[in-house]
């Protein structure tokens, strides 16, 4: 059984999605989805443990040997990303129960969870596979289900947001397919490790750099890397609360993972950074993203969209770490994958609590919530502080490593920018705090009826808040895993 864990990681949610579509009533479908998400989480934990103890796992699907068949290949990097995705899934799905009932029509709920599980399946599939074409297939599973999830938002803006996401996402996927095709044309293989081997033996060809460019642009579209980010803010802002929390914490993370996998395993660090000068392309984009998106976030009146712009800035931090190309830089980037997933999921879940009770997430809707929904707002504040990067939260750990990596290069102005944008994060989080704690609640009856969110929403939210603090106080585990992942990618012997 344990030998088949890699394939079960993906097949269980896949099969479960089909079953889920048939379950009635809504509560049963939900309970089933929760159960699945927990199973998936346990498998991810087991896989990470196995990888940490015993090294890379290779699993040949259907027993067909790579590179002829499809191989699942799990090293520290994707084991960690699997854990991130499944952790978020395992926390958001229990949360979804009540939140979704408020936001989705009852008869649609089983199918909503089906789409949710398919999204989970797709993300896990992208992460775990060692075959580039298989990446594309699972990318489309996750993408199509994500478009659906976004479109389920209550306002009509959700529909256009989903459509634009669909168009941009499909363009991105097509770019990826072109890139894969170009690589295939010069190597004859689709297996990542095999590709890496054959590409390193290949003499100079113009096809490989172009394939590199197409894959980078295609994945960057999925990643919403500036300036390819235009689809993201509305998609996050209009999607149902539970969907936003899940997608924001996982989808872009998996895209980052794809980027890492292609840069380091397929093309190799030398090619990516020395031949293609990746650092010089990514660094300015990352810096512009960090600064401009933080700035835009400050001026949003819709708090969900504000956090979406904040996510774009955070993606900038992650890319910044990657663009440095050193062990410390990569460690910082990978660490922030986890840390940002935890803080953003917590923040969006807190917003979901507000939507549940107040029905709006415009900044005015927060007036007086510090008193009316103290636990929700406390969760928002702690996760917000984590986003700012205050000590004893995970955000601080990320920032520490990022600055350390930047200083190793002697890039003082970049360090200053990172710190300055932390303060910008403080400003936009602060606006919400001020609205919640310093503005009296409106006096009408509707506002008077606002109470604390139910425990079914609060408990999952607070679990993530505690994770934010726990791994902020003791980051040895996450730093160790991120460090090993960085070393694995760079091929540094340990």
């Amino acid at each position: 059984m344990t030998a088949h864990l890699p394939v079960l990681q993906v097949v269980i949610p896949l099969m479960a999605a089909a079953v889920c579509a048939a379950l009635r009533p809504a509560r049963v479908a939900w309970a089933f989805a929760v159960l699945v998400s927990w199973t998936v989480f346990v498998i991810a934990v087991l896989l990470l443990r196995e990888v940490l103890a015993g090294g890379t796992i290779s699993y040949e699907i259907g027993g067909w040997a790579a590179p002829w068949g499809i191989e699942y290949r799990i090293d520290v990097v994707n084991a960690f990303v699997l854990l991130i995705v499944s952790t978020v899934g395992a926390v958001v799905l229990p949360y979804a129960g009540d939140s979704v009932e408020r936001e989705i029509r009852r008869d649609q709920i089983p199918l909503f969870y089906t789409a949710f599980l398919l999204c989970l399946t797709g993300l896990l599939g992208i992460t775990i596979t060692g075959d580039v074409f298989n990446v594309f297939v699972f990318l489309e599973i996750s993408s199509l289900s994500t478009y659906t999830l976004v479109a389920m938002g209550r306002e009509r803006g959700a529909l256009t947001a989903a459509f634009r996401y669909l168009v941009m996402g499909s363009v991105g996927a097509t770019f990826i397919v072109i890139g894969i095709g170009l690589l295939y044309s010069v190597t004859g293989t689709l297996n990542m490790v095999d590709l890496g081997l054959r590409l390193s033996e290949l003499t100079a060809t113009r096809t490989v750099p172009v394939a590199f460019a197409f894959l980078t642009v295609g994945i960057s579209l999925k990643l919403a890397l500036f300036p390819l980010h235009l689809w993201l803010p509305n998609a996050y802002a209009y999607a149902p609360s539970a969907a936003t929390a899940f997608i924001a914490a996982t989808a872009t993370k998996v895209a980052v993972y794809m980027l890492l996998r292609f840069f380091f395993t397929v093309f190799g660090a030398t090619f990516s950074f020395d031949t293609m000068q990746l650092g010089f392309v990514l660094l300015p984009l990352a810096l512009v993203a960090i600064f401009s998106m933080s700035l835009v976030a400050i001026f949003q009146v819709n708090v969900k969209r504000m956090l979406a712009y904040s996510s774009l800035a955070q993606i900038g931090y992650i890319t910044l770490g990657i663009s440095i190309g050193t062990v410390t830089g990569l460690t910082a980037g990978i660490l922030h994958l986890f840390n940002h997933a935890m803080m953003k999921a917590a923040l969006f879940m807190a917003l979901g609590c507000v939507i549940y009770r107040v029905g709006s997430i415009r900044i005015e809707a927060f007036h007086g919530l510090g008193k009316r929904m103290p636990l929700t707002m406390a969760a928002f504040v702690v996760a917000g502080l984590s986003l700012v990067g205050v000590p004893l939260t995970v955000g601080f750990i990320s920032k520490w490593y990022l600055i350390l990596a930047v200083l190793e290069q002697g890039w003082w102005p970049v360090a200053a920018l990172v710190l300055f944008t932390s303060l910008m994060a403080l400003v936009y989080i602060w606006r919400v705090v001020e609205a919640a704690y310093f503005h009296p609640s409106p006096t009408d009856e509707v506002a008077a009826a606002v109470r604390e969110a139910p425990l079914s929403l609060l408990i999952p939210t607070w679990i993530l808040v505690v994770v934010n603090v726990y791994f902020g106080v003791d980051a040895t585990l996450t730093v160790e895993v991120a460090g090993r992942a960085a070393e694995a990618l760079l091929g540094v012997p340990r």
Binding site: L407, W430, D474
Partner: protein
């Protein structure tokens, strides 16, 4: 009890106290206040048990956890930290007594929240005082900022919001933008952040780089309120008076100057600072702050605002002592932490007493009030004397050593600054009790005579004023402790 246990308990007991306070709540106010006082007494007792051992040369160490590999949350008690923790824990008791009188006398809302965050702030102060490395100090420094924020904005009014915005914005901005990079830079060049007597930076930094790094620390530790990063302090005056007392005498500002002292002694090392001359320029910045703050204080009619600017000036005395980087300077600076704490808290208690009893906030309204509130004004006088540095109060000693420090450093200009500043102090501080006792009372006051503030407030003031006097006659235990810092 082993010293290590005492250290842990000193940090944990306030937190337990905070929980207890929360459980009692508004309905059981007496029990709640008992919980506050009991926690405060226990913490003070714990720190007292540490005193003889530290004086005897013990340096209890303890590692709590390791957030980042190689960067533990670690504690190590040494004389400087012990002094700070003694000041903070003893004044917590006094401030608690005072708060009971003030908060009830003033019918404040949300008193439970007030006591909870007060206790958390004290816990953070203990963490700062006992920090065994710069990282730990930084972490608790930030916790202190965040935990005092709800205290500053206690009233929740528009003014409180504005003040809170400046308070949090400036303190977090300086700490994230300057202090944190300084910490990371130190870690990067030295490979450690431990507090080591003699410093860890000797030989790894060029003079120019050392000057820049020191600058990052001096301005990054915004709590020390060196100009131009002092704006948060007057802004925080919107808080209830006990909070002002806590901020200006005990916790926040002292955490700032304490950190600067600690960094000069244990990160840079005084020898290194002298060798490279990195600190001279900041000694002048501190000198400038002393004079400017005093001049601004003159212009303030609002009593609390005047005290706030006085604090800014007094803090720079301590920064100046640290930047002189000789033994007199360090001794003077360290002693001034204590002297200023007791002097200034007395003054704030006085300001609060006047507010509670007479509902007056402006200096110009106080003519003749001393005859109606003699205890308050007598205490105020003693506090003012100590701040000015006149006998028979403890402030005399610290100013004396600071003056010696400037001479040893060969900085006659800075000596002149100290002298001039003392004159200014007389002009804007001592004049208040003088007029309160001797000037003709204003007619409105005669029409509505006032009485002394509630008893807890008076008790608190008398205690702190007495300590100020006591420190003049018995400075030796303190002096011995401080000397260990410079001799190590």
């Amino acid at each position: 009890m082993s010293p290590v246990t005492a250290v842990v308990l000193a940090i944990v007991v306030p937190l337990v106290g905070a929980v207890a306070i929360g459980l009692m709540g508004e309905e059981r106010a007496n029990l709640r206040e008992t919980a506050t006082l009991v926690s405060a007494a226990i913490v003070f007792g714990l720190v007292l048990t540490l005193t003889p051992q530290i004086a005897g040369g013990a340096r209890p160490e303890l590692v709590l956890g390791e957030p980042l590999p190689g960067l533990p949350i670690a504690f190590e008690v040494e004389p400087l930290g012990l002094i700070f923790s003694l000041v903070a824990s003893s004044l917590w008791i006094v401030t608690s007594i005072y708060s009971i009188g003030y908060m009830r006398g003033h019918h404040e809302e949300n008193q439970t929240r007030f006591y909870i965050f007060f206790a958390i702030a004290i816990s953070a102060v203990m963490g700062v005082a006992f920090a065994g490395n710069l990282f730990t100090l930084f972490v608790f420094y930030e916790v202190l900022t965040l935990s005092t924020f709800p205290l500053v904005t206690h009233h929740g009014t528009e003014a409180a919001k504005r003040g809170g915005r400046v308070y949090l914005g400036l303190l977090l901005a300086t700490s994230i933008f300057l202090f944190l990079p300084a910490v990371i830079w130190t870690w990067y060049v030295a490979g450690t952040l431990d507090f080591v007597p003699g410093g860890i930076l000797d030989g790894v930094l060029s003079p120019a780089a050392a000057t820049i790094l020191l600058g990052l620390f001096v301005f990054g530790i915004g709590k020390a309120a060196v100009m131009p990063v002092h704006r948060w302090l007057p802004a925080a005056m919107v808080a209830p008076t006990p909070v002002s007392a806590l901020l200006h005498a005990v916790a926040v500002v002292k955490a700032g100057v304490f950190a600067i002292l600690k960094i000069s002694v244990y990160i840079f090392g005084t020898t290194f600072l002298q060798d490279v001359g990195a600190s001279q320029i900041f000694a002048y910045v501190a000198g400038a702050t002393i004079l400017l703050a005093s001049l601004v204080a003159f212009t303030k009619d609002n009593l609390k605002a005047r005290l706030a600017y006085s604090t800014i000036g007094q803090l720079s005395y301590i920064v100046l002592g640290a930047m002189l980087a000789n033994s007199y300077g360090i001794v003077g600076g360290a002693m001034h932490i204590v002297m200023h704490a007791f002097g200034k808290i007395t003054l704030f208690f006085g300001a609060g007493a006047i507010l509670v009893a007479a509902h007056r906030t402006q200096v110009s309204q106080l003519d003749g009030i001393g005859r109606m509130m003699p205890v308050t004004m007598a205490a105020f006088l003693i506090g003012a004397l100590s701040i000015t540095g006149l006998p028979p109060t403890g402030g005399t000693w610290s100013k004396w050593y600071l003056a010696l420090g400037t001479l040893e450093a060969g900085e006659p200009i800075l000596l002149a600054v100290l002298m001039l500043s003392s004159l200014l102090n007389i002009g804007y501080l001592l004049v208040i009790p003088a007029r309160a006792f001797f000037a003709p009372a204003d007619p409105e006051l005669l029409a509505h005579p006032v009485r002394e503030a509630p008893m807890p407030i008076l008790i608190a003031m008398v205690i702190t004023a007495s300590v100020s006097i006591g420190l003049f006659f018995f400075p030796d235990p303190l002096f011995d402790l401080v000397r260990m810092v410079v001799e190590s």
